[in-house]
Symmetry: C2
């Protein structure tokens, strides 16, 4: 039993961690690991919160994500598609698909994320890949790198 | 992208199914499968909703559950422990542990559930097991069989 703390979106006994600790480009994102794999479930269940006007890292990787928004909203880039997301919307990130979350709707963006416990490291775009992505003007205007 | 429908707790293109179709003892429970496994995620992500005064089946199985409440509240039995649960509380059901959810707080109880896609069939208690469970008076008063 992991109880949500009074005030919400924090869980008792769960550390509030920086999104990443590797110097990657992101802004105002926190991470809490709610389930760290076990029994026949080789997955982690995490809660991320992107503060208002913040964004996650633009990245891709072999592993997939299943995401559900549970607080606020914003937009997400998946491949070349930019979609507005809000409460309880679900986003699947397929393997090797560029993706970035932005809390650009005047509020925070908090989401659950299911991911394999054993997984590859995310890749960030190099200058050539940013140029290719930006050939789509909407994507170029959206991404933060 | 699977968008929550207007009104909430339904998802576009996702069937609203009976909880079980096997004649098991339950009351007022619906099921929606939000992610059916894929890529490196051998898990399903489901939403169950127990209507006010309803309950899930009392059962146990080798597979584990990770559950998060996202609507209303109630109580859950896990082993011999009965716990009140509400918004964003997380419940882990370990293997071979009797469990039952009840929406007994004057509102519905809606929860997300992560489960392995390949899993064993649930077991229901026989009369001897119900008797053993009921040696704990609180458990005996709680369970619905």
């Amino acid at each position: 039993m992991v109880r949500q703390s009074a005030g919400g979106f924090r869980w008792e006994g769960v550390d509030l961690l920086p999104y990443k600790e590797d110097g990657t480009i992101f802004k105002s994102v926190t991470r809490q690991t709610l389930f760290d794999g076990g029994h026949d479930l080789p997955v982690q269940f995490r809660y991320f919160e992107v503060g208002q006007d913040g964004h996650s890292t633009l990245e891709r990787h072999e592993h997939a994500h299943v995401v559900m928004v549970i607080r606020g909203g914003g937009h997400v880039l998946v491949g070349e598609e930019i979609t507005e997301i809000g409460l309880h919307d679900i986003v699947q990130i397929p393997p090797m698909t560029w993706h970035q979350f932005r809390a650009n709707r005047g509020e925070e963006l908090g989401f659950l994320c299911i991911v394999a416990k054993e997984r590859d490291r995310p890749q960030r775009p190099g200058p050539a890949e940013v140029e290719t992505l930006s050939e789509n003007a909407a994507v170029g205007a959206f991404i933060r790198v």
